[in-house]
Subunit: 161 residues, 2 copies
């Protein structure tokens, strides 16, 4: 269970120093359920420095104001079975900066869209945050930029392009 | 992925010979998502003869006429994490007869309701099936007897009563 307080912005520019100091991951995620407030998703997260691959299952469910998110580690074969029956998916590169910015750069299927996200411990902290110059328009409340809405439909059993 | 053709009946009577020859399981299942056609569920299935426990995650998703069901084995710790954030659950005993009847006897929370289910390879076979005398009313089309509708709400982190 986790409650997330986040703000999301388009990326105007990626400063070379930010790129150099960030941890880099390749993320593939597949949606098995994306209906109303419910979501069941698997994710492969590959650390591009160490080559280490981790697999996750995330389940989000909600009724009214209650919203829950549960995440577990899964193994590669569980990931393969679950992802092969997904309805849609997406691929992106993630740069995680030392100060906690998460920059997501989507692949060509999504015109290399780039967003940056920041998580906060409280709403006060979120409201007080002043984005740096290289952040663009804020899209926190824009449903279009939710991952489940960016995900594209897949021919079954196919890998993500 | 699996398409299921099943018929379900209330149980009028449980003949001693049927009970004796059946394999017996205890089943606990927890629902993380049960919204529209979507379902994410974990199940513990304990073989009451051997004591062997197996854990499963099942995800059902559907859009229009398409409906998919995916099931994977999970381990005990994955089961514990996922079940602890479930919204509802149920407990039942299952008797599986040598000819493939599945008799489910629900616990006292569900007034020991008993149903019997049979799976078929084709619709022709399903339609040709003549239920034995100890079967009661057919409830195949009755949504009330779907497991996700029988499941009761749980105080979080509690085990099933």
């Amino acid at each position: 269970m986790a409650k997330e307080i986040e703000r999301k912005f388009l990326l105007r520019d990626l400063p070379a120093k930010v790129e150099e100091t960030a941890q880099k991951y390749l993320i593939e995620q597949y949606y098995l359920i994306a209906e109303g407030k419910s979501e069941a998703r698997v994710r492969l997260k590959e650390d591009l420095d160490s080559g280490k691959k981790e697999y996750f299952l995330t389940i989000k469910s909600g009724e009214g104001l209650q919203r829950e998110e549960t995440e577990i580690h899964i193994n590669e074969s569980q990931y393969i079975i679950l992802s092969s029956s997904a309805i849609k998916g997406l691929k992106k590169w993630r740069l995680k900066t030392p100060n906690g910015f998460e920059i997501d750069i989507y692949n060509e299927r999504l015109s290399h869209l780039s967003v940056v996200e920041m998580e906060f411990a409280s709403e006060e902290e979120a409201n007080a945050f002043v984005p740096p110059q290289w952040f663009g328009e804020e899209v926190t409340e824009n449903a279009k930029y939710k991952n489940k809405n960016l995900a594209y439909e897949l021919p079954h059993l196919d890998k993500l392009p």
